[in-house]
C-alpha cells in the first residue's frame, strides 16, 4: 500500500509544482503586462467643476446662484420586489406623477435617472426610505430667486449646469470656473474610490451685471400692465444708460421661469430684444432727420411741402393720416408726416441715408455680450429703389432689433457717439479681483454733437402738447422721444392686415440724457398707436426710474416735489427667501388701471369702434378730429345734466 501512497504523493507533488510554475509564469513572465492592464481598469479620472458662479445685479443682488443638490438614480434590476408599495411615497416626495415613477422603476435599462438636481432635504427624505438599487450622486442646482425677473437676459442652464441661453451661456466659461481633474481609482462597479483632490469647490468667479434689479422690476411691471391692458401678444422694454451703453433693464412679456425652463415654450425663452426684429416705423424718422441735419441738407425750419396727404412716387402713392400742406422739418417730426419724411429722404439721397443708417448700427449686430443676436434687416444699397428710399424714410422696408434702435437713440442721447452695449459690467473672483471687465466702448461718432443736441430738441417737441408723444411727458423733466406704429410683416410676405407694433423710444432728461427707454408693444388690441399704447409705458417707467436714481429735474420745469420727497414706487423686488415660498413673484400689475376701461374708456379706439362701444353702453359721444382716440373728457350738459364724452381723435403715423 505504501508504494501506491508514494505514487499518489508523487502525483500530488507534481501537481503542486505545476501550480508554482504557473504562478511564476503569471507573476514574473506576464506580470508587467497584466499589472498594467489591471492598473488601467482601476484608474479613475473625473472632471470636477467648482460651484457655478453667481450672477448678481449692479448692486450685488444675487439673481442666479447654485446650491449643492443630489441627482437620484435607480438600477431597476436591483430594486426590491416590494418597490411597488413605495411608488406613492417616492412620487409624493419628489413631486412627480406616480406613473412616471412607475415607468422609471420598471425601465429595462440598467441605469435610469429618477430625478436630477434634487435639493438635499428632499434627497434625504428619499434616502430615508432605504430602497436598495436607488442611489444618488452629488451635483449642483441653479436657483433663480426672482423667478421670471430678467429671465431672458439671465438665460438658464441644463441639468449638467451648462448655460444654454443669455448671460448663462455667454459667460458660461467664467461661471463654470476652472475644471480640474481628480485622479483616483474606481471599483468594478465604476464607482469612484480613493479620490485624490476634488470635492465641491466654492464658486470661483461671479458675474456682475449692469442690470439694476429695481429698474428691471419696474420695467417688467409697467410692461406687463400695458400688455395686459392693451391685450397685446407680447412686449419688450429696454432701459439703456446712454453715457455708457450699459443695459439697465431688459424686460419682455411673456416671461418664463428659468428655474423650470422646460415648462415654457421655447419662444418665451428667447431674448426677443436681440433675436427678433420689427419695422421701426416712425421712430426711424428721427435718424433720418438727424442725418439730414448733420449733412446740412436741411435745417429745422426748412419748409417741406406735404402734398396735402397723398404723394405719388412712381406707381405708388403714399399717404399721411392727416393731410398737411407745408410743414417745417421740426413739424414733420412732431406730426410724424410720412410724406414730409419721404421728401427729406429724397433731399438726403439714398447713399447718404444708407451710410447714416449703417453708422447708427442698423443691419449689423450691436455686439452686445449676449448670445443669439441677429443683424436685423437693412437692405443693401443696390436694392434701394426710388420707392424704397421713400418707405425707409418713414421706417418701412427696414427691420431692426429693439436693441439696435435703442442704441441708435442712445447715440443721439450721447452727443452722437455710438458705443457697444453690454450687460455684464465685470467678472470678479471671490477675493474681489476683476478678471474681466466691460466698460463704455465707443464705436464711432455717428453725427456731430451739435446735431445730436438739435435733434434732441426736435424730439422734445414730439413730447410736448400737440405732439404724438405727449403721453410720455413727465412733469419736471425735459423728455425727448418719438412714437412709432408699424404694421407687422406677414410671414407669407407683405404686411399683416391687423397686426400692429406700437412703440415709443425716449430719453430723459433731454438736455443730458441719463436714460434711453424703448417700449415695444406687439399686437395691441385696444389701440395701436405708439403714442397711445407705448408712450405711457415709457412715462411710467421713466418717472419711477428718475425718482429711484435721484435725477434732478430739468431747469425751468417745475420739479414735482412729491416724487422727489417720497418715491411712489421703488418696489423692492421680493427677497431671495420669499421668492422660494409658494407665492410666485408676479411682475404683473394689480389690474386696477384696467378697471375703468371696460365701459367708458375709448382711448386708442378708432372712430367706428368708439361709436359702436358708446352705443352699446348707452353713452353719448362727440368726436373731434380723425384717426384714433387719443384723449377723452366727460362734460355734463348744462340743460339735461346728461354726460357727454368728448373724444379727441388723432392720427399718429
Amino acid at each position: 500500500m505504501s508504494g501506491r501512497i508514494g505514487l499518489v504523493a508523487g502525483m500530488l507533488g507534481v501537481g503542486l509544482l505545476l501550480i508554482v510554475a504557473r504562478l511564476v509564469h503569471l507573476t514574473v513572465v506576464q506580470g508587467d503586462t497584466l499589472a498594467q492592464r489591471a492598473a488601467r481598469q482601476h484608474r479613475h479620472r473625473e472632471t470636477v467643476t467648482p460651484q457655478r458662479g453667481a450672477i448678481v445685479d449692479r448692486n450685488g443682488r444675487r439673481l442666479a446662484f447654485s446650491v449643492g443638490a443630489e441627482s437620484l438614480y435607480v438600477h431597476p434590476a436591483k430594486l426590491p420586489t416590494d418597490v411597488e408599495d413605495m411608488i406613492p411615497a417616492l412620487a409624493q416626495h419628489l413631486s412627480l406623477p406616480a406613473q412616471q415613477v412607475d415607468a422609471i422603476l420598471h425601465s429595462s435599462k440598467p441605469f435610469v435617472w429618477l430625478k436630477r438636481g434634487v435639493f438635499p432635504q428632499e434627497a434625504s427624505q428619499i434616502k430615508a426610505l432605504r430602497v436598495s438599487g436607488l442611489d444618488s450622486k452629488s451635483t449642483q442646482r441653479r436657483v433663480y430667486p426672482y423667478r421670471t425677473l430678467a429671465a431672458p437676459l439671465l438665460g438658464f442652464v441644463n441639468v449638467d449646469a451648462k448655460g444654454l441661453e443669455g448671460v448663462e451661456k455667454a459667460y458660461n466659461h467664467y461661471l463654470l470656473g476652472p475644471v480640474s481633474h481628480t485622479l483616483g481609482e474606481r471599483d468594478g462597479r465604476q464607482r469612484a474610490i480613493l479620490i485624490r483632490g476634488g470635492g465641491q469647490q466654492p464658486e470661483t468667479f461671479r458675474v456682475r451685471l449692469t442690470l439694476d434689479t429695481t429698474l428691471q422690476y419696474v420695467a417688467e411691471r409697467e410692461l406687463n400692465r400695458a400688455v395686459q391692458h392693451s391685450r397685446a401678444a407680447a412686449g419688450s422694454v429696454i432701459i439703456l444708460d446712454p453715457q455708457t451703453f450699459a443695459i439697465l433693464a431688459l424686460a419682455q412679456v411673456p416671461a418664463f421661469d428659468p428655474n423650470m425652463p422646460g415648462y415654457f415654450p421655447p419662444d418665451t425663452r428667447r431674448n426677443r430684444v436681440i433675436s427678433d426684429y420689427y419695422e421701426p416705423g416712425s421712430t426711424l424718422k428721427a435718424l433720418l432727420v438727424a442725418a439730414a441735419l448733420d449733412t446740412g441738407q436741411v435745417s429745422e425750419t426748412d419748409p417741406i411741402f406735404c402734398e396735402h396727404g397723398a404723394y405719388r412716387v412712381g406707381r405708388h402713392t403714399i399717404h399721411d393720416v392727416h393731410p398737411y400742406g407745408e410743414l417745417s422739418v421740426d413739424r414733420v417730426l412732431t406730426k410724424s408726416s410720412n410724406i414730409g419724411a419721404a421728401k427729406i429722404g429724397q433731399l438726403l439721397g439714398k447713399e447718404r441715408y444708407y451710410d447714416y443708417l449703417r453708422a447708427f448700427g442698423l443691419g449689423q449686430k450691436t455686439g452686445v455680450d449676449l448670445p443669439g443676436e441677429i443683424n436685423g434687416n437693412l437692405p443693401s444699397l443696390r436694392a434701394w429703389s426710388r420707392i424704397k428710399l421713400v418707405t425707409v424714410s418713414f421706417g418701412q422696408g427696414v427691420a431692426v432689433t429693439p436693441l439696435q434702435l435703442a442704441c441708435a437713440y442712445a447715440a443721439l442721447a450721447n452727443d452722437g457717439m455710438l458705443m457697444r452695449p453690454y450687460v455684464v459690467s465685470d467678472v470678479v473672483t471671490r477675493t474681489g479681483e476683476v478678471v474681466h471687465a466691460n466698460g463704455p466702448t465707443p464705436l464711432r461718432q455717428v453725427i456731430q454733437p451739435e446735431t445730436a443736441r438739435r435733434i434732441r430738441t426736435l424730439l422734445e417737441h414730439v413730447v410736448e402738447p400737440g405732439g404724438t408723444g405727449r403721453r410720455a411727458h413727465i412733469q419736471g423733466f425735459r423728455v425727448a422721444g418719438k412714437t412709432g406704429t408699424s404694421q407687422k410683416s406677414d410671414p407669407r410676405g407683405g404686411y399683416s392686415e391687423t397686426g400692429r407694433i406700437a412703440s415709443f423710444i425716449g430719453m430723459v432728461p433731454a438736455e443730458q440724457p441719463r436714460l434711453v427707454i424703448l417700449a415695444v408693444i406687439d399686437e395691441p388690441q385696444t389701440a395701436t398707436y405708439g403714442g397711445t399704447v407705448a408712450a405711457p409705458v415709457f412715462q411710467a417707467i421713466a418717472r419711477q426710474a428718475l425718482t429711484y436714481l435721484g435725477v434732478a429735474g430739468s431747469a425751468g420745469e417745475g420739479v414735482d416735489i412729491q416724487w422727489a420727497a417720497r418715491p411712489p414706487v421703488s418696489p423692492a423686488p421680493p427677497s431671495a427667501e420669499s421668492a422660494f415660498s409658494s407665492e410666485a413673484y408676479d411682475a404683473g400689475g394689480d389690474g386696477s388701471s384696467a378697471d375703468r376701461s371696460e365701459v367708458d374708456d375709448f382711448i386708442g379706439l378708432s372712430l367706428r369702434a368708439a361709436m359702436r362701444k358708446a352705443s352699446a353702453n348707452g353713452l353719448r359721444v362727440v368726436a373731434h378730429g380723425s384717426g384714433y382716440v387719443t384723449g377723452q373728457r366727460v362734460r355734463n350738459k348744462a340743460q339735461t345734466g346728461e354726460a357727454v364724452y368728448e373724444l379727441r381723435l388723432e392720427a399718429d403715423w
Partner: protein, 388 residues
C-alpha cells in the same frame, strides 16, 4: 486526557489486533500547516468580504462573523475527533453516510433548497451545504468499507461493487443539484482511495473510462459547462462573458507580481473579481502577497499532504491508513484543483480552497476530517513506523 484516552481505548479496540492503540503526540507539522492555513483564511475572508458585505448589507463584518461561527464549530469538531480513538470513527461511518444521503435528497426536494441551484439547506438562518458534508462522509465510509473488505478487493463484485454503488449514488445526487465539480471531485476521491486500498489496475482503468464518459456527458449536457470548458481551452476568448472571471483572476496575480501590493490593498476584490471571497480567494492572496504568499500557501498544502500521507503510510490499522489517506487526499487534491482553476490550469469547477475560502459547510467538513487525521497522527508509533 490520558486517562480518558486509555478508557476509551479499552472500550473501542482494533478489531484485528484486539489491542488498544498507543497514543503519542499530535503531528506538529500537520497542525502547524492547518493553523497557518486557517489564519490565512481568517485574514483573507475579512479582507475580501469587508467591502462587499458593507456595500450589500451595510455590515462589513457579516461574513466574517458567519465564517468565525463555522470556524468555532469546525474546531470543536476537530477537538472532539482529536480526543476520540480512531476505532470510534468506524462507528460514525454509517450514521454519516445516512445523514449525507438524507440531506442530499432533501436538498433536491422542492421547498427545502435555498437559492437558484439546489445546493443549500436552510436551518433557521444558517445555510448548510450537504455536498460538503457528503465529501467527509464518503471519506469515512470508504475507509471503513474498504478496510473491512481488505482481503476481497481483488473481486469486483464482492470487493468494489458495494462501495461503488454507495458512492455512485452520492455522486449522482450531487450531480443532480447540479454540482458537477463536486460530483467529479467525489469520483476522484473514490478512485484515489480505491487505488490506495489496492484495487486492481484493470478495474480502475474500466472505472476511469466510465467516469470520463459520464463527465463528457455532464459537460456537454449543459451549455454553461460547455462554455466554461471551451473558455478554458482558449483563455483569451470571451473576456466579457465566461472568460471574465478567469481574466480578472489573472490580472490579480499580475498586479500582485512577486511581492504583492500589500495586505488589504487588493483592487480586484472591489467587485472586479467575482467570488473573490470563495472560490477565487487565492487570486486575492496572489494580488496582496504576491508570488511569495501564493507559494507559501502551496507549500503549506504540500506539507499537509506529505505529513498526511505519512500517517496514511504508517498507521497501524488498515482503516486508519485508508482514513488518513482519504482525509489527506480530500484536502490537498481539492486545494490543488482550486488553485489550478484560479490560475487557469483547469476549467472552472466550483471547489473551494480548504481552510481559506469563505464557506461554513466546507470549513466544518475540512476541520472534522483534519481532526480525524490529527488523531490518526497521534496513533502512528515510531516503532511501527520503522518496521512497517
Amino acid at each position: 486526557m490520558k486517562m480518558l484516552d486509555a478508557r476509551l481505548s479499552g472500550l473501542f479496540t482494533d478489531a484485528r489486533t484486539a489491542q488498544p492503540l498507543q497514543c503519542g503526540p499530535v503531528d506538529s507539522w500537520l497542525l502547524g500547516a492547518v493553523l497557518l492555513l486557517l489564519l490565512s483564511g481568517e485574514l483573507f475572508v475579512l479582507n475580501t468580504t469587508y467591502f462587499y458585505a458593507f456595500d450589500r448589507f451595510d455590515d462589513a463584518y457579516l461574513f466574517v462573523r458567519k465564517h468565525n461561527l463555522a470556524l468555532v464549530i469546525g474546531c470543536l469538531g476537530c477537538l472532539v475527533a482529536l480526543a476520540l480513538p480512531s476505532t470510534v470513527f468506524r462507528t460514525l461511518a454509517y450514521p454519516a453516510l445516512i445523514g449525507a444521503f438524507v440531506s442530499l435528497c432533501l436538498v433536491l426536494l422542492p421547498g427545502f433548497s435555498h437559492g437558484n441551484v439546489q445546493r443549500w439547506l436552510s436551518f433557521g438562518g444558517l445555510n448548510f451545504q450537504p455536498s460538503e458534508f457528503a465529501k467527509g462522509a464518503v471519506v469515512l465510509y470508504l475507509a471503513y468499507a474498504l478496510a473491512k473488505k481488505a482481503d476481497r478487493l481483488h473481486s469486483f463484485v464482492y470487493g468494489l461493487l458495494p462501495s461503488l454503488l454507495v458512492v455512485g449514488c452520492v455522486v449522482a445526487l450531487i450531480a443532480l443539484e447540479p454540482d458537477l465539480g463536486g460530483a467529479v471531485f467525489i469520483s476522484l476521491l473514490l478512485a484515489a482511495v480505491l487505488f490506495a486500498a489496492g484495487a486492481r489496475g484493470r478495474h480502475l482503468a474500466v472505472l476511469a473510462g466510465v467516469g470520463l464518459l459520464c463527465l463528457s456527458y455532464g459537460v456537454l449536457s449543459a451549455e454553461y459547462r460547455t462554455d466554461r470548458f471551451l473558455t478554458f481551452l482558449d483563455q483569451s476568448a470571451d473576456l466579457q462573458g465566461e472568460g471574465y472571471q478567469l481574466d480578472q483572476s489573472r490580472l490579480a496575480f499580475g498586479a500582485g507580481g512577486v511581492s504583492g501590493v500589500g495586505l488589504g490593498e487588493s483592487r480586484q476584490k472591489m467587485f472586479y473579481l467575482p467570488e473573490a471571497h470563495t472560490d477565487f480567494i487565492f487570486a486575492v492572496i496572489g494580488e496582496e502577497t504576491g508570488l511569495w504568499g501564493t507559494t507559501g500557501i502551496v507549500l503549506l498544502f504540500g506539507l499537509f499532504g506529505a505529513r498526511g500521507l505519512r500517517v496514511a503510510a504508517y498507521h497501524p490499522t488498515q482503516f486508519g491508513r485508508l482514513l488518513a489517506f482519504g482525509c489527506t487526499f480530500f484536502i490537498v487534491c481539492q486545494a490543488g484543483i482550486n488553485m489550478a482553476v484560479v490560475i487557469g490550469l483547469l476549467p472552472i469547477t466550483g471547489l473551494p480552497l480548504p481552510f481559506v475560502s469563505y464557506g461554513g459547510s466546507a470549513l466544518v467538513s475540512s476541520l472534522f476530517c483534519t481532526g480525524m487525521l490529527l488523531r490518526l497522527s497521534r496513533e502512528v508509533q515510531l516503532g511501527e513506523e520503522a518496521h512497517a
